[in-house]
Amino acid sequence: MSIKFLPLLTIISLFFAHPALSKETPEQKGLRIAKMTRDMNEGFKGETAEMEMTLIDAYNAKTVREMTSKVMEDDKEGDKSLMVFLNPKDVKGTKMLTHSHKNDDDDQWLFLPSLRRVKRISSRNKSSSFMGSEFSYEDLGSQEIEKYNYKWIKDGKTKSGEKLWILERVPKKKSGYSKMVMYVSQTKNNPVKIDYFDRKGELLKTATFSDYKVYKIGNKNIYRAHKIHMKNIQTKKQSIFSWKNRKLGVDHKDRDFDTRSLK
């Protein structure tokens, strides 16, 4: 074979080798999209933010919770995060340290300031409400793709014409949900909406992600939603999580995320 055909052969073999272009099942496509969005969101190094959570009951009465958070990226094992509660005042100073794991339950510790006690807690019970809100610990915890089975359902569009991938995500381990349906923006590589289905398979909650901002980290554009509006369809209660003073690309120290840092 003449060497002049080599570039053509290379192009043809690459074309057929690329998983996106060969025949793939909805599960394979779902997983590929999940991995791709993960890769697009990686590389933020570290993050700090002030957070506010507004709890709205069925009668529209509002209560506000405040906290700060730090996240350190660890693409080998799973991210590490530290959340410090500021309001209500009786829990001010309470800290929650989480070491995420891709294939195992997360390690979690709680620091109780009045007792100066660092207590290891079980992260298995993820369906519990986070500070009385409509968010559960599972909603706010690590979303490592290894913990879910993915399935592409179809492509779609938002009302404004933004292209979407619509994916089904089923937890592999114990969860408060039977499945989640994610509406992932093809430009932001992040969800704009997630429908959560309870263990009976009925729609329980809907989270709407908005106020996206783009952060330039190195040569990457990373999008982050600054508002998540969670509506509980069954109880009519709502919670709104919002971020302020968010910074990405922050260089955290390892010691900021070990149990010593809690005291």
Binding site: K89, R116, N125, T259
Partner: protein, 436 residues
């Protein structure tokens, strides 16, 4: 002097207000407790007090300054009124990794909820909740270095902090005690609170487990011998020359540790300590009930026997209907290596089981119920029940109230031992707290 120091640190902390990484918080509580009537004019059946705590923290990496203290003023029992420093220290990270700290510090080395053999550094306020006594800060110099998945810390404690005892008008008091005496080798007369104490602690996180080991050489804070060294022998019988009784705290060496591991929804907790006491000095004490029943004399001289104390715990976490979280606790402890008499003299909880349940309703107001039952498996009919309900009233106000039932009928009319001292001292309590 302590009040002056407290005020001085408060001022110092205030100076940090203008800095960026400053945080402050505090609380003021109106506390009320009502004991069951005891027909005694000498003790107060009702306590009404104001409890306040302030905490200020200033961080400017690599330096940190923390101050926290509390004060209680009781309207009816002056002995309950006191000020305690919990934290008042400066710390710094050297070369990013090595932490040095100096000042008063509150330690919490416990793994379990009710029994705390490993958590022995700080002196306690014995006029507070038996299973979680309030603590006083310990003057400390600490040097901590990272080590594998954890740290090694070296401690020097230059001063013995005297524990707080219930006063003579308190229902939780059995006898009026003199100023605590430190027994350091053969020295118990100078009663110097400045003394060399030191320790070491290794902590490691290994997979789903938290492990710690420690070594301490310090003056014990929890197991005094109560009696006198002022005595003589008359006609072969030991006789005290004073009616005053004093708590004697002995120097001890403690080797101990803790272990916590998560197994899914279950958390296993272990805690142990082996204690070796200096035995150069004997104190005249009232003999135990058992010896008395055998017809021996009223007094004996003794020191504290070496022993091991261990505790285990299981915590089961569950989700209940309605978004309620439940935590079920089962714990037990025991003192080993000494006979039953010595065991009972050493601690109120010498062979006990605790069963507890916590319900967090996860509502906006953070309503919570916590109840425990502690029962003695060695001594008949002794139990302690605690029930507490708490609820936020707003972002700043919180209410909690409950009942503590203590049942421990006196078995020997000659002497009260262990929990028997508190028999009939059940009480209800309410606290209204404003956080800021």
């Amino acid at each position: 002097m302590q009040k002056f120091f407290f005020s001085f640190l408060l001022l110092l902390s205030g100076a940090a207000l203008a800095q960026d990484e400053y945080s402050g918080q505090g609380q003021v509580s109106l506390e009320f407790r009502q004991f069951e009537k005891d027909q005694s004019e000498l003790t107060e059946d009702t306590n009404i007090s104001i409890f306040s705590r302030i905490e200020q923290r200033y961080k400017s990496d690599p330096f940190e300054h923390v101050f926290r203290g509390y004060a209680r003023v009781d309207k009816k029992d002056q002995n309950r009124s006191f000020v305690a420093l919990e934290d008042a220290y400066f710390s710094a990270f050297l070369a990013e990794e090595y932490k040095i700290l100096a000042g008063y510090k509150l330690f919490n080395w416990t793994a379990t909820e009710a029994f705390h053999p490993a958590d022995v550094i700080n002196s306690r306020n014995f006029d507070s909740n038996l299973e979680n006594l309030e603590k006083k800060g310990e003057l400390t110099i600490e040097f901590e270095v990272p080590f594998f998945n954890g740290a090694m810390a070296f401690y020097y404690f230059p001063r013995f902090e005297e524990p707080e005892y219930p006063g003579e008008r308190s229902r939780l008091s059995s006898v009026t005690l003199q100023r605590s005496v430190v027994v350091d080798g053969t020295d118990y007369t100078t009663n110097e609170y400045w003394t060399n104490q030191y320790g070491f602690r290794l902590t490691q996180v290994i997979m789903d487990a938290d492990i710690s080991l420690h070594y301490l050489n310090h003056i014990d804070r929890n197991m005094p011998l109560v009696g006198t060294t002022n005595y003589t022998t008359i006609l072969g019988s030991l006789t005290p020359l004073t009616s005053q009784v004093t708590p004697y705290y002995y120097r001890k060496t403690q080797v101990g540790g803790t272990y916590q591991q998560v197994f899914g929804d279950l958390i296993l907790k272990l805690e142990f300590a082996h204690r070796t006491f200096e035995q150069d000095t004997k104190v005249l004490t009232a003999k135990s009930a058992v010896l008395k029943s055998q017809g021996a004399g009223a007094y004996e001289t003794k020191f504290i026997e070496n022993h091991t104390e261990a505790a285990f715990g299981l915590e089961y976490v569950m989700s209940l209907p309605g978004g309620i979280d439940g935590n079920f606790f089962l714990e037990g402890n025991g003192i080993f290596g000494v006979d039953e008499v010595e065991r009972q003299e050493r601690s109120t909880f010498q062979r006990d089981i605790m069963v507890g349940f916590r319900l967090a309703f996860n509502d906006v107001m953070g309503s919570e119920i916590y109840t425990t039952l502690i029962t003695d498996i060695e001594r008949d009919s002794e139990y302690l029940i605690n029930f507490k309900y708490s609820r936020r009233l707003s972002d700043n106000w919180k209410f909690d109230g409950g009942i503590r039932i203590i049942e421990a009928p006196q078995k020997n009319p000659a002497i009260k031992e262990g929990l028997e001292v508190l028999d009939g001292d059940s009480y209800i309590f309410t606290n209204l707290t404003r956080y800021f």
